[in-house]
Assembly symmetry: C2
Homo-oligomer: 430 residues x 2
């Protein structure tokens, strides 16, 4: 029985993988990119805008044409279901189709379209899976119009979040709740379904958005987890004064104090870099910010990420020590802004994905997949709290995303879709 | 003859000094501060605005009432002349009445009003000076509405500057030339006179705008010179990228590079601080300035000042070396923005001012004056290229200026006016 099921899973996985059609995937990507397409090759399709709703309608029509059952939940997450032999919890794949104000064709959209390609490949291979296979299109992953990001996936996992999310407003003072209700009205023909439904597993295919795979010359990456992150603001308050008339020994120069602390932080981060710590001092606000005035107020942000939570805890302690122990007569404060622990995908899921990527690479004569961690957040980060979850990455040219220049070789996109098809079909049968 | 002239100078100087009327000075300061006065006690009177022109009209009327001949030049500098026995080059005093967008009652205005108080004191003492005494009100010292500052005084000394100044525009795209022509039209009843007229000397009384006198507990400072200054911009160009997905070893983080250079610059400045070097890194522009994006572009300014030009030249070489020798793979450039050599006032003028301050302090039972250098620019910096020049400082509370909280004890303002009266009357007779 065990062996028979394994053989069935292998056949389904290979049938799905081998029936992925690269040209069909290319057309699907181009068609979706037309919704919000820009002259520079980028895409502007922020969540729940008219363009986003039209793109979703396009996906609904395509899913229906493939024979899928279509459903929507209270967060406007869309689900396209290919029934299985038994009414078991489905295996879910997919991602999001919203973009940053200026994004590319692939961030999110690739994962959704590879999911629909998988459905079409299963149809072509006439595979019947034991469990249903579903493709999801999560709402507002980017968080650029309404913060925070990953609203759809996190509300799916914890529906108690939704009332809070509904109060978020965009730059035009439209609330997420109003935008959501409008979207649900427009999709009134699509049956509503409950949030937090049981799932057998979730596999998300995504572009890497970093340079690791490109630099390694490897087309497929097995994502072992998502880094933890901590965000802080360091604020120094001194006294703004005339740059010419104020002797050095009486100054309370907030910038000088921040440079000292930032320099020590950089030394701290450099010591931990080999262990995978990434630190960015990204946003600086200097007051009054004038060439001949000593800065009286400076605030800068610290973004620290690592897969090793202990290392991040040590960094946190070092940062607190630096800010509390500064030898400055002015005021310096540390404000923690956000923290999330690391996500580690379960070994059984990594094995399924590694096996799928291995076969895909071998059949294409490409180097074996490598394990890597995700530096960016993804919907999979929240799904990992709900069901066995995994991710597959394909390379990003120059590591770029959130940029019209976002690009992945089409050949690599096809390999990613084949690996996804193998992994999902396997999980749906094993 | 020599001795007789010395005795006459002494009598004129002491007569002027002793007839300075503190209450009259207080009223004059309050009256002028009403032009552009703010609820918070500050003054907003930017150059050649309607408020500034009304303030100038007020001064013209007062000068006429004191019996002065009033004249204006092509830069709208106003001159109030008390004739001398002979038509020799006059002794000039005064300052400016324009302010920063938010300034105080004293920066500039104090020097002009103390000049008019001196005229009134000479009248009261019935002193006839050998040379004429003039009070000047320079145009656009602050440079906040139209850059650069000290336009009026520098054009007086070098009229060839004026055509270039006329093209400067303010935030509303009004040119300095148009604002100037409008001011000259409004003052059409005031006789025009030539620029660059010969002067016997120039003495400017000003608030210190720094903390040195206050900290020393001394009401009068003999300004020995004005620091030289060099302004630069350091610009680093890297690559903006995702803070989460970009490994440390592939980053081109412009902020990290600038912190390294800024930190070394601070160490360099600290080594030279005992020799009087003052360094300020005042303006920072970071792009894209987002918490989770590695900064791709950072530009910061360097303001370095010192009375020792050689020390500043060594700092310049160190800065160039740091920027050229950075161990970073990105681009880093140094752009010199402005440089001015130090001003040293002639010893003979320092002696006249020191003698005036000594007597004033002694008669008031106050500590002797101390020598100090000016960290800020003043109109006297340009006049020093034209005639024997000197400056007198009075304390600034907490070293503040360019601020509504700018303040000097009235007692000290009166001492400054007495010292100015002594020095100018002396020069006008000696």
């Amino acid at each position: 029985m065990e062996q028979a099921r394994g053989e069935r899973a292998r056949q389904a996985a290979e049938g799905a993988q081998d029936n992925v059609d690269g040209e069909r995937l290319r057309r699907a990507i181009a068609q979706l990119a037309a919704f919000g397409g820009r002259d520079d090759g980028g895409v502007s399709r922020q969540t729940l805008t008219d363009i986003d709703l039209e793109a979703r309608r396009h996906l609904v029509e395509r899913a229906k044409a493939l024979g899928c059952q279509v459903a929507i939940d209270d967060a406007a997450n869309l689900f396209f279901r290919r029934p299985g032999e038994q009414d078991l919890p489905p295996v879910l794949t997919g991602s999001h189709v919203d973009t940053q104000p200026v994004g590319g064709k692939l961030d999110g959209a690739y994962g959704v379209l590879a999911g629909l390609e998988l459905i079409e490949a299963l149809n072509d291979a006439r595979v019947r899976t034991l469990r249903p296979v579903e493709v999801v299109c999560w709402t507002n992953e980017e968080g650029s119009r309404f913060g925070p990001g990953c609203m759809g996936s996190s509300a799916f996992v914890d529906p108690a979040c939704l009332p809070r999310y509904r109060t978020a407003v965009d730059g035009d003072k439209v609330s997420f709740g109003d935008a959501l209700d409008r979207a649900l009205d427009r999709m009134a023909d699509v049956p509503r379904r409950a949030m937090k439904q049981p799932l057998s597993g979730f596999v998300e295919l995504h572009i890497e958005q970093g340079p690791v795979l490109e630099r390694a010359g490897v087309p497929l990456g097995v994502v072992t987890g998502i880094q933890s992150v901590r965000w802080y603001a360091v604020k120094a308050t001194g006294v703004a004064a005339h740059a010419g008339t104020t002797p050095m020994e009486v100054r309370l120069d907030a910038m000088a104090a921040c440079i000292e602390v930032a320099h020590r932080l950089q030394a701290e981060a450099a010591r931990a870099a080999d262990s995978g710590l990434r630190m960015t001092l990204g946003r600086w606000v200097v007051g009054p910010n004038s060439i001949n005035t000593i800065p009286g107020e400076v605030e800068f942000t610290v973004d620290a990420r690592c897969l090793d939570e202990q290392l991040l805890a040590r960094f946190d302690a070092a940062l607190r020590g630096l800010v509390a122990g500064h030898a400055w007569r002015g005021r310096m404060e540390l404000q923690p802004l956000f923290a999330r622990a690391p996500t580690r995908f379960p070994q059984a899921m990594l094995d399924v994905v590694a096996q799928a990527c291995e076969r895909t690479a071998r059949m294409a004569g490409k180097p074996s997949p490598i394990p890597l961690t995700s530096g960016a957040f993804h919907d999979a980060m929240y799904l990992a709290d709900h069901c066995p979850t995994a991710m597959i990455f394909v390379p990003s040219k120059n590591g770029l995303s959130h940029n019209a220049a976002e690009e992945t070789a089409h050949e690599d996109l096809v390999l990613g879709a084949r690996a996804l098809a193998h992994a999902v079909a396997w999980l749906a049968c094993a």
